[in-house]
Amino acid sequence: MWDAGVFNGGATIALIAILHVYIAMFAVGTGIFLYAGERSARRRNDAGMLQYLRTHSKFFILVALVAGAISGVGIWFDIGLIAPEATGVLIRTFVWFWALEWIFFALEVVTALLYYYTWDRVRPKLHETIGLVYAVSAWMSLFLINGIISFMLTPGRWPETHSVWDGFWNPSAIPSLVMRTAVSVILAGLYALITSASVEDADLRSRLVRFSTSWMILGFAALPLGGAAWLAAIPPESRATLLSGANPASLFFLMSMAISFVMALFVWAGPYKKPSMVNTALAALLLVMGFAATGSSEWVREAVRKPFLIYGYLYSNNVYKQEAERLPENASILARAKWAGERSVAPDRELEAGEAIFRSACMQCHAVNGYNGIVPLVAHWSEEYIEHQLSHLDELEAAMPPFHATADEKRALAKWLYAISRPGGDAP
C-alpha cells in the first residue's frame, strides 16, 4: 500500500484524472469542431475563418497532444500505484478494448500532426479527410474508454457471467456516453470562444462566436437527457447518496448541475444573442466554470462508488467482496497483510502493529492528516470509543468497507489512532 503522505493516493488520482478528462474531452470535441468548421468554411469560401481554424489547430496540438497524452500516461501510472488489484482485474478483462483504444489513440496522434502540418499543402478535400479520421478516432477512444469507466460503477451482469461484453455494455454505459459527448462538444465550443475572442476583424469574430456558441447550446441541450438516464442506471445506494443533499458527494453533484445551468444561461443570453459582447475575460470565466463542473462531476463519480473500486465486486481496500463475506468477523488482518512488518500484535509493539494495520486497511482512503485525514475524524473520541466503533465501520459510514480483525488488532489500532490524534501526538 503506497503511502502518499498528506495527499493520499485518492487525491492524486482525482487531480490527474480531472485534468486528463477535461483535456481529453476537449480534444474529442475539437476534433469534431475542426472538421465541421473547415467543411463549412470551405463551402462558403470563408478565407478568414480558415485562417482562424489553422491557428486554432496549432494550440489544439499543443494542448491536446502533449498534455492530453501525458496526463493519460499519468493515469496509468497512478491507478497502478493506488489501486493495483482493480487495475489488474480491469486490464485482464478489458485489455482488448484498451488495445483498440490505443489503436485509435495512435491514429489520433498521427492525424493530428498531419492535419496541422498539411494546412494548404494538400488538396482541401484530403485535408478534410484527415480531419475526419481524427474526429472519428478521437470519439472512438472516448466510446471505448467510457465503457470501462462506467463498468466500475455499474458492472451489470458481469460479476455473475464474467463476460466482457456484459461488462462493456453495462447499464450506465450509454447514458455516460451521451453525457461525455455532450460535454466534449461544449468544451470545444468554449475553447473556440476563447480563441475567437481575440480575433481582430469584428465581422469575422461575430461569425466565429455565433458558430462556437451554437455548439455549446447543442451540448447543453443533450446534457440533462444523458444525466437523467445515468441517474436511473446507477446503483440505488449511490443514487440515494447523490440525492440526499447532505453529504459532500451530493453537494458536488448539485454544484456541478448548477454551474452547468448557469453556464448555459450565460452563453445563451450573452455571446449567442449578442456575439459582439464577447471578450477574453468572459470566455476565460466560462472556461473556469467548465473546469469546475467537469471536475466536480468526475469527483462525484468516484465518490458514489465507495466503498468499492468495482461496484459490488472489489472493495477500495483491495479486498474482494466474496472473500470478505467468507471471512469470519475476527479474522486476523495482519496474517492476511503481506506487507505488514508485524505478523501479530506483540504485547510490547502494539503501536507499531496499530500503524501497520492502518496502512493495510485504511490508508487507501484516509491519510493520517490531510486528504480525508483520520486524525480530525477521531480527534474527540476516547480510546474505548474508537475501539468500539472499529467493529461497526461499515455501519458508521456507508462509504467504508467492513473491517475484519481480531480483538487484539482492533485494540492496537485504536491505541495507535488515539495516540496520534492527541494534540502533540506523534503523527508521522
Partner: protein, 392 residues
C-alpha cells in the same frame, strides 16, 4: 524460494494465449525503443549542437535544425508507442510491475511530470527562435535523463522481489531503493544506445544537406557521436553483463537463441558503423548501387537500430527468465476472448493501412505542389505568411 510478498494471482484470466501477448509486448516495445532512443539521444545531441552553433560553428546549424524540428514528433510517437507495451507488461507481469511502481511511489509518479515539462521544452525549442534554445533543450534533456532513470530503476526493481519488503518498510512513501552501482550500468547502456542511433541518423540526414560545408560538418559530428557511443558501449556493456544474476548468465549461455542475438547485435552495429563511415567518405552519396541515394542514407541508422533491437530481445529474454521463476502458479490462467482478439488484430492492420494511405496521398499532393508556395494546389486558405515560422 519465492518471497511471500509477491501478490496472489488475479482472479481473472488472460484474454489470449501468453505467447501472443508476449509477441505483442515485444513488437510494440521495439517501436517504443526506436523512438525513445532517438528522443533521448537526439535531445542530448541537439543540446550539444546548439551550444556549438552558439559558440560560432554556424556550419552545424542545419544538422541542429534537423534534430530540433524532429524531436517533438518523436516525443509524440515515443509516448504513443509506449502505452501499448505498458499495457501488455501490466497484463503479463502486473504482480511485479505494480509492486515495484508502488515501492518507488512519488519517484515513479514524478516521471510523468518530467515527461510533460520535457515535451513542452521540445516544442518551445522547435517553434521559437532565440538565444535561449540551448538551455531549453538542456532542460528537456535533463528531464528525459531522469525519466529514463526512473524506468530503468523500476524495471530492475521489478525483477528483485527479495528486496521488496525491506524497501517498503524502510520508506513506505516510495524511494529509489536499488544501489546506484546496480542501476547505473544498465542505465548507461540504454543512453549509449540512444546516442549511437542518433549519431547514425545524423550522418544520414546530414548527407542530404545541399550546402557542402554544412553537409560535411553534420556528417562528421554524426560519425563522431556514433563512434564514441559504440566504443564506450564495450566497457559499459561488460559492466552491465557483470551485474546480471548468475542464473541469468547461465540461461543466456545455454541458449542458442541468445547467442545468435548477441552475435547479431555485434555484427549489425559494426555494419552500421561501416555504412556511416562509407557515407561520410563519399560525402553523402554512398556506394554506387541501384538503390536511391535517399534510401542509402538511412542504412546506418537502420543497421544500428537492428543491433539495438537484438540487444532489446536479449534484455527481454533475461527479464522473462527472472520473472518466470517468481511467477506464482495460476498467474497465467487463460480465458480467451476470441472475438475481441480477432477484432484487435484486424483493427491494427486496418489502422496501419489508413495511416499508410494518408501518408501516400499527402506525399503525392505535396510532390505535385512543389515550387512556389501553394502552386499546383487549388486555392484553399490564404497562403500563410506563417508558413516559414511553423513549417517543418
Amino acid at each position: 524460494m519465492t518471497p511471500e510478498v509477491i501478490p496472489d494471482p488475479f482472479p481473472v484470466g488472460l484474454p489470449a494465449p501468453p505467447v501472443l501477448l508476449e509477441i505483442l509486448l515485444v513488437l510494440t516495445f521495439l517501436l517504443h525503443v526506436l523512438m525513445m532512443n532517438v528522443l533521448l539521444g537526439g535531445t542530448l545531441t541537439a543540446t550539444g549542437l546548439e551550444i556549438a552553433v552558439r559558440l560560432g560553428r554556424r556550419d552545424l546549424r542545419p544538422a541542429a535544425r534537423f534534430l530540433v524540428k524532429l524531436l517533438p514528433n518523436v516525443m509524440a510517437l515515443t509516448v504513443t508507442f509506449g502505452v501499448a507495451p505498458l499495457l501488455f507488461l501490466q497484463l503479463l507481469y502486473g504482480q511485479f510491475f505494480f509492486t515495484s511502481s508502488i515501492l518507488m511511489g512519488w519517484y515513479w509518479l514524478a516521471a510523468v511530470l518530467l515527461m510533460l515539462i520535457g515535451y513542452y521544452g521540445l516544442y518551445v525549442a522547435a517553434w521559437r527562435q532565440g538565444g535561449r534554445r540551448p538551455w531549453i533543450l538542456a532542460g528537456s534533456a535533463l528531464c528525459f535523463l531522469a525519466v529514463a532513470y526512473a524506468f530503468v530503476h523500476n524495471l530492475l526493481l521489478m525483477t528483485r522481489p527479495h528486496t521488496w519488503l525491506y524497501a517498503y518498510l524502510s520508506s513506505p512513501g516510495g524511494g529509489l531503493h536499488l544501489p546506484l552501482g546496480d542501476v547505473f550500468p544498465r542505465y548507461l547502456h540504454m543512453i549509449l544506445f540512444g546516442t549511437s542511433l542518433t549519431g547514425a541518423l545524423l550522418v544520414g540526414s546530414s548527407g542530404g544537406i545541399e550546402e557542402g560545408g554544412s553537409r560535411m560538418a553534420g556528417m562528421r559530428v554524426g560519425l563522431w557521436v556514433l563512434t564514441l557511443s559504440l566504443v564506450a558501449q564495450i566497457p559499459v556493456g561488460a559492466w552491465y553483463g557483470s551485474t546480471l544474476s548468475a542464473g541469468a548468465v547461465q540461461a543466456l549461455g545455454a541458449s542458442w537463441y541468445a547467442r545468435v542475438l548477441f552475435v547479431l547485435a555485434l555484427v549489425s552495429n559494426g555494419a552500421g558503423w561501416l555504412a556511416a563511415y562509407r557515407l561520410w567518405r563519399t560525402a553523402g552519396t554512398g556506394i554506387k548501387t541501384g538503390i536511391p541515394e535517399r534510401a542509402v542514407r538511412f542504412f546506418p541508422a537502420a543497421l544500428v537500430f537492428a543491433g539495438t533491437a537484438a540487444m532489446m530481445l536479449l534484455r527481454q529474454f533475461v527479464q522473462d527468465f527472472e520473472l518466470q521463476s517468481f511467477l506464482p502458479a495460476g498467474s497465467w490462467k487463460v480465458e480467451v476472448q476470441p472475438v475481441l482478439t480477432a477484432i484487435f488484430l484486424v483493427g491494427l492492420t486496418l489502422a496501419a493501412a489508413v495511416v499508410a494511405w494518408l501518408l501516400y496521398r499527402v506525399r503525392k499532393d505535396r510532390a505535385g505542389g512543389e515550387g512556389p508556395p501553394g502552386a499546383g494546389l487549388p486555392a484553399g486558405g490564404p497562403p500563410g505568411p506563417e508558413r516559414e515560422k511553423t513549417a517543418v
